[in-house]
Symmetry: C2
Subunit: 402 residues, 2 copies
Amino acid sequence: MPLDWNGLFAPRMAGVTASEIRELLKLIDQPDVISFAGGIPDPDLFPRDAILRAHERVLQSNSLAATALQYTISEGYTPLRDWIAGRCAMARDEILVTNGSQQGLDFLGKLLISPGDKVVVTAPTYLGALQAFSPYQPQYIPVPTDADGILPDELEVALAQRPRFLYLVPDFANPNGVTLSLERRRQVVALCRRFGVPLIEDAAYSALRYDGEPLPTLLAIDLEAGQEGRVVIHAGTFSKTVVPALRVGWLAGPAPVIQKLVLVKQAADLHVGTLNQMVMHAVVEEIYDSHVAVLRGAYHRRRDAMLAALQETMPEGVTWTRPAGGMFVWLNLPAGIDGARMLERSVAEERVAFVPGAAFFPDRSGKATCRLSFTTNRPERIREGVGRLAALMGRMAEAPAA
Amino acid sequence: MPLDWNGLFAPRMAGVTASEIRELLKLIDQPDVISFAGGIPDPDLFPRDAILRAHERVLQSNSLAATALQYTISEGYTPLRDWIAGRCAMARDEILVTNGSQQGLDFLGKLLISPGDKVVVTAPTYLGALQAFSPYQPQYIPVPTDADGILPDELEVALAQRPRFLYLVPDFANPNGVTLSLERRRQVVALCRRFGVPLIEDAAYSALRYDGEPLPTLLAIDLEAGQEGRVVIHAGTFSKTVVPALRVGWLAGPAPVIQKLVLVKQAADLHVGTLNQMVMHAVVEEIYDSHVAVLRGAYHRRRDAMLAALQETMPEGVTWTRPAGGMFVWLNLPAGIDGARMLERSVAEERVAFVPGAAFFPDRSGKATCRLSFTTNRPERIREGVGRLAALMGRMAEAPAA
């Protein structure tokens, strides 16, 4: 009886399939393509010197190196937990260090979702969150957003269905760049508290604000409302503010939940790399605020360049968001233009790449949308790429059936 | 309605609880305690200089650093995959890099186990494997072992129950130090092929052999039998041979299974730290074989010291395994002595720590057993600790009811 591996995969694997778009984008990762696809930081801005110095400091010391290269506790490196706790006004035992915030999302799915459970997300939402949650087989309740974020009336209807949690990205959301307004933040936390529904706040982009003053996190609003009945678990990461490759993020939430998540971490992969955590701690102690200021300056100019180029070149019928921070502008295409089809033509005819929007909707709706990232290209190249895209869209709008 | 978090945890979390033993061992991690508890390498033997050199080489180069600090593909760093593939005579697309082998075990649980599915393990088996698999709610079928490893007749009965997989540690097993004989290896692979049952080979300790010649891996025996009907997925790690803290391990298996596991990795935490993988590749390229030879020399002397001390001091009625490699000796205690109770007294009266054996049995049987690790103490200290333990056991054997 030769083994049929596919027949052995658990039912939870049914939805775990390769993304055609991702495979396509891999193929076109070539220097002559202007890519607005990747939601990744600009490697030219990595704080390489601080990272090298931190490695040398740790590895040149016998005692530090002995700690840095050995197994450690699943909770995370204590000075790093304390640094994070200090930044979000939490206690050490309310912090778990994870392999980036992606692992935090996976753990929350594992902790909270049983097959068939309802989970509320915005439409569109972060594709990686859908990928993290889907193996636990939730039933998604998508709630639409406007320029101020998730719509409270629709959210209330969704929460009345007793979902396991609400997941959202309040600041400069991936994929649409939208920020939840202060009034909505208070409404969302109050609703989740009223219905007793956990609220997962994905703060991946929150530090990258280019306009206006920071808004309080959902975590802060939840804490203000009192320890009793807390609902927020906050997922953070150094991937956008320092570097992605050290894979250091965190979950912050009520201590009993973090305690359980520590056991999930232990079972899943024991702990985040000890050296990675010690280096990340040394780097953020030394340069976090000044480095984030550098990133904000550079990305601010790139966002402005993209918005200006869209304004100058896009044909009628195309609209887009104006993100106050983060990495992404979201385009609504004229009726009849499919984002995936546009990507094929864009790559072939214009050598420009982006991500079609359908993947960000749990039901794959939103075909006439796409996501442009402005972080990895300099302003001139952004203008060039947007101009080429506009030219293609002009041709497609003239002959929408093509 | 204030939120009841405990009421929200998924049923799969029911068995995910803190280990009392682990909590106790955390408390007694003090310099005056001679600990045989941790299954961890000796930090004095870490190849610190090679690791520092590799970090400097990567981070001092603009182009290497830009790669090393950025997001990468979920499959793993290509030169590292190729190095691993070369070592086990596989193709690159048969290798997935994971955060240590622990993450590989978690992924295999996620891929293969649905609630109620049967899983075959040895009794005793690696505690971390039970922790990795249990959230997917398997029903364990424990199969006993003797000095040559798992018993084939009992295994055949277990495989006839159509389990999802068999998990075992063929070389110097954690916890009992037992090695699966060559004849049994062939029998086990043939049985798994006959029944069409996947065979997870945990090779964490395989490189640390002190006596005799290496035996072929189950993976090699499976490949010898032909591509058609392959059953083995091999989990490897650099945690015991280089350092644990970089969190680099791998799964090696049939390409279609690895392809699916790549998607599991992407959803779980995107990828293993890029810098960690590049550094690990540079280190193993430079020093793997010579460094493993150093470890084997040092640990060989420690194993000999432990076996000699046991022989000299243990009271009648105590028996133990004689591992040909790895990190562990396994003690069978005289009837009536409970390992957990002995640990309490040993810490209080003798300042010696070890791990009681019950935790390594899915059904928590095996109370009259314990695991001693010989890797982190020098020979003199091993002799001292074993002597103290023997004295306590003498006292306990005289008054077994105490």
